[in-house]
Symmetry: C2
Subunit: 321 residues, 2 copies
Amino acid sequence: MRVDAAQYCNWSREIFAQMRQADLTAVVATLTYHGTLRAVVDEVMAWSDRFRDNADLIFHGRSAADLDRAREEGRTAIFFGLQNPMPMEDDLRLLEILHALGVTSFQITYNTQSLLGCGWTEPRDSGLTLMGREVVREMNRIGMLIDLSHAGERTAIEAIEASQRPVIISHANPIWWRETKRNVSDTLLEALAAKEGMIGLSLYPHHMKSGSDTTLAEFCGMAVKLSERIGITRIGIGSDLCQDQPDAVVNWMREGHWMRPAPNSVRAKFPRQPDWFSDCRGFNQIAEGLRTEGLSADQVRAVLGENWARFFKQALKPQAQ
Amino acid sequence: MRVDAAQYCNWSREIFAQMRQADLTAVVATLTYHGTLRAVVDEVMAWSDRFRDNADLIFHGRSAADLDRAREEGRTAIFFGLQNPMPMEDDLRLLEILHALGVTSFQITYNTQSLLGCGWTEPRDSGLTLMGREVVREMNRIGMLIDLSHAGERTAIEAIEASQRPVIISHANPIWWRETKRNVSDTLLEALAAKEGMIGLSLYPHHMKSGSDTTLAEFCGMAVKLSERIGITRIGIGSDLCQDQPDAVVNWMREGHWMRPAPNSVRAKFPRQPDWFSDCRGFNQIAEGLRTEGLSADQVRAVLGENWARFFKQALKPQAQ
């Protein structure tokens, strides 16, 4: 069972077909990076059309059972994720509404300050806010995945402490492999693993050692080294694949509408993906690469999806009263 | 010219008539404490009905000229304020929309963390956020009053530093008079005054020395003492009057929907107003009280409204390019 815990592609039938070629049982698709509840509703409606038009390849995944169903039916279950808590607005009750709409993964911050905590780009991180503590408790209750990607370190550590259930960092790499605050320190990795959380390793060039020129061997070597430090059961893939997106999208991701847009001359561009992961069929290359680096077939399966599948099956259950 | 920079009453014709008896030229009415743009739109529509039904007493104030118009016509100009930036959502462009709807005062935080900065109840205050800096610049440009009531000290200090124009604290008292983090330290008062900002003194019992039992002499004595420290031109009134509101409203103010409501047994109640300020006609008592404490007639007029009027006339202009 293969799982990708973070993608935001310019979705198409071609991409869904590639998911099948990659043997992906589940993909967590980011719905939006900005906006209020309405932005999520719009995306859910767009997905409704995609599920109708590509029912032979994909369906909407909501529960642990949908992972088994996807494997049995030879389709990919698309789970919905959010990379910014803004769509819950200032209303705790909207978490249940988002869950009803199918959102199962939820980042408590994106790059900047949210109502719940602080993102990695702010100069100072004051940690999990009063509302953030309420949200962690409510997500624990509902059975939504608390995702700490993009969080500031203090916020992430405090969220791990506050949560009664294991949490995830859906897409990032260790900071010792590529030094950027977007990646994750040893302190945070240890805190995550100590409470049985998981990290999804990212294939986004800005998170990788040599950017777009990172080799398969470098990536797989990092994965093996990390597995030796925090345990192989704590590791999965969260590719952060943004396939076929126009560059306007990366500017929107970064700037949303909260800041004045940068002038045309300094507009950002998506980095080039390494050739061994230009689309999700790169999972096949990673499988080979991890074997070359010395992992067993079982260990490779664990990293490429069995770990996430086991984790999701626990985490998506509502909390026992 | 008398001005009250902060009220949130359960609006009625009776209250508007009292404004006339208090000789109030302008009142800044809070539209909402929580919610998104839609909450503001709903309130603006409710005010539209009130302006229609009480056109002999009130009208919608939007500009410096409306202060003079109100005095000439013997009516009270109702300016719109927000005590929480949530209605701008995560979109800088909504500030212009809010301004078009008539919002002229805008708090960058309420009690808790906002996207712009930190409120006074959070355990840690990391200051003005990246988005907060954009918002201060945009408010400077548009000519909206940057209101630092309810902010954490670090956030308030950084907003004063970031703003190119004087800012306000619409309703609070000095912390040396009543010790609560909701009130304002000497450091903050000095920073505010040094950049020609203003503070509106609050008549809300929880901000006053002896709560509901605070005397007129105590309040006026504080005002005089503060005027000696930061200059009488820096002081006005922001009563925070919540006349005729049911207690459910104070619970909503505090909890919004961002937290689980407190159980019925610990629901909050509005404190009793002191008898000399049970409604806005208390401005007449304060006028007498300030005279008793030694202020001249001109100084009393300054504190009760001329200072705000002069300030508003500057602050509501768009910034010169």
